[in-house]
């Protein structure tokens, strides 16, 4: 009995429970229940760590020490903060629309946890290998937009409302290039199932090597979708205080906080899945437990990248942010998508397809960067026009 192999774990467990005398149906219910609870627990526990990591990392970049009082290296700081948040008084503004005010944080967390179901952690370890996996991710993340809008509106606060407007404007705009990037991945992999996308990256043929341009697009859009610097206008402290969750405190704020970091985690894991080969690595096929290790290493690296960006870059202005999405990212993603589709239709041998895609991707990125550089130079030379509305 090899308990380290998750593929033998399920039949072993099912036969164990059925040995006790439970019917097959209830065994499956129990098995899935255990699966979902461990998935949720895994996510929450890793959030405790990621929050600590982010604070520590940002502190180091800014020449501080960061949390160092609670536990070794301040590791228990997040737990202390969580307990503090949970024990705070639960306040509802007098003029708030009660139902949607209370529903919004729950819906926000719900939307992220639903996405967790399709993350492939290792060979054969996935909550539900939907054959519409990629589409499912896009569909579910739109519920998160809904939640932010509800929170912004029901708080009855103008800063919250402004934050809500910004959520829709930003997340919808950046969803377009993000989905285009995903579609390019789907075209190359030939399937929307996340396990099949990972399978298509066998033998070190990570899509990152094949389509670096698409990867760049995806990671930029992911930063925006995650409301991270340089796109953190939704909660820009100096402009709208805290955005749509300004009126939330205690446990309800904790939900939004959790949503933010869960988003980081899952966007990083989808970046890993789509472009960095998912759980693939040496011997991951034979020893599935290694898949977990590779998966976590890659995901942590992507999260580090996102933290690095957050710690180093200033925030964009809102008109710059929207212009960047619609004038740069969307056309680029369309061009890359068309290139991918045409190259795949040419019917070349696989190695030529990869090489051609790589060359074209790099060319497109260079051309776009060239245009951007020219636009910026023109912008500096030109006498300042009125600030765009």
């Amino acid at each position: 009995m090899n308990l380290l192999n998750p593929q033998t774990l399920a039949p072993w467990f099912i036969s164990l429970i059925e040995g006790i005398g439970l019917s097959h149906f209830w065994t499956l219910v129990l098995w899935n229940l255990i699966g979902s609870i461990s998935l949720v627990l895994f996510a929450i526990i890793s959030i405790l760590f990621i929050v600590w990591l982010e604070r520590k990392f940002a502190a180091r970049v800014q020449d501080r020490i960061g949390p160092n009082r609670v536990g070794p290296y301040g590791l228990a700081q997040t737990i202390a903060d969580a307990i503090k948040l949970l024990t705070k008084e639960d306040i509802t503004p007098a003029t708030a629309e009660r139902v949607s005010y209370n529903l919004a944080p729950v819906l926000a967390v719900f939307s992220v946890f639903m996405v967790a179901a399709v993350v492939p952690f290792a060979k054969g370890v996935i909550g539900a290998d939907l054959n519409v996996g990629v589409l499912y991710i896009t569909a579910i993340s739109s519920i998160g937009i809904m939640a932010a809008l509800m929170a912004g509106w029901s708080s009855d606060n103008k800063f919250a409302l402004l934050g809500g407007f910004r959520v829709v404007a930003q997340l919808l705009s950046y969803e377009v290039p993000m989905v285009m990037a995903m579609v390019s991945v789907v075209l190359l992999a030939g399937s929307m199932s996340l396990q099949k996308i990972v399978a298509a990256q066998a033998g070190g043929r990570w899509f990152f090597w094949v389509m670096p341009g698409v990867f760049l697009l995806y990671i930029i859009a992911a930063l925006a979708e995650n409301e991270r610097t340089p796109f953190d206008l939704l909660e820009a402290d100096s402009e709208i205080v805290a955005g749509y969750h300004i009126e939330y405190g205690g446990i309800k704020f904790a939900w939004f906080f959790l949503t933010f970091f869960l988003n980081t985690l899952f966007l990083a894991s989808f970046t890993t899945t789509f472009f960095l080969g998912g759980w693939r690595g040496p011997f991951a096929e034979q020893v599935p437990i290694l898949g977990f290790v590779y998966y976590f290493i890659k995901t942590t690296l992507v999260i580090f990248f996102m933290m690095w960006v957050r710690a180093t870059w200033p925030r964009l202005r809102i008109d710059q942010m929207m212009a960047f999405a619609w004038k740069v990212l969307v056309p680029t993603s369309l061009v890359l998508l068309i290139i991918t589709a045409i190259v795949l239709k040419l019917g070349l041998p696989a190695i030529w397809v990869d090489a051609l895609l790589l060359v074209l991707n790099v060319t497109v990125v260079l051309v776009v960067l060239g245009f951007l550089g020219r636009a910026m130079r023109l912008d500096i030379d030109r006498p300042k026009r009125r600030i765009a509305a």
Binding site: E97, S100, Y136, L149, W153, V168, L172
Partner: protein
Amino acid sequence: MITQAIFIIVSLFTLVTALLVVRHPNLFSSALYLVASFFGVASLYVLLEADFLAVVQVMVYIGAISILIIFAIMLSKGMMGKHTSPHNQQDRWVALAGLLLAIILLYFLVALVQWPTTPVGPVPANAIQLLGQDLVGRFVMPFEIASVLLLAALIGAIAIAREREI
């Protein structure tokens, strides 16, 4: 048995939320109930083993259309108060007319249309590929016409909303 129970619960949920959409005094809440109703419909699709349709339902109706509706409500003047529903005094007549229309439609749908009930077998594994190929193969004309229509609407909206530079 369980499927039946789930179906009844989901349908009731869909219907009740749909009723609340038209009856709620607050327009924003109506929009939220509309989202809930769309969710019910998506669940029905899942029950019918139409995953693709369910996901598209969530993406298009909740992710795009509802958010657009809510955005329109938020941008309208005086729509953010507590009682904003544009109800007038003719509820009863509307209800009567709606009921009549429903009866007529149901009569046509139930009595006149032959619903084939032969089982079509399990959904093929590559259903999405087939759907995609049909969309750009057999049904390429309707597909393209819809795209052109949407593009025209998009350009029209931009043309109307565009700031005239004087």
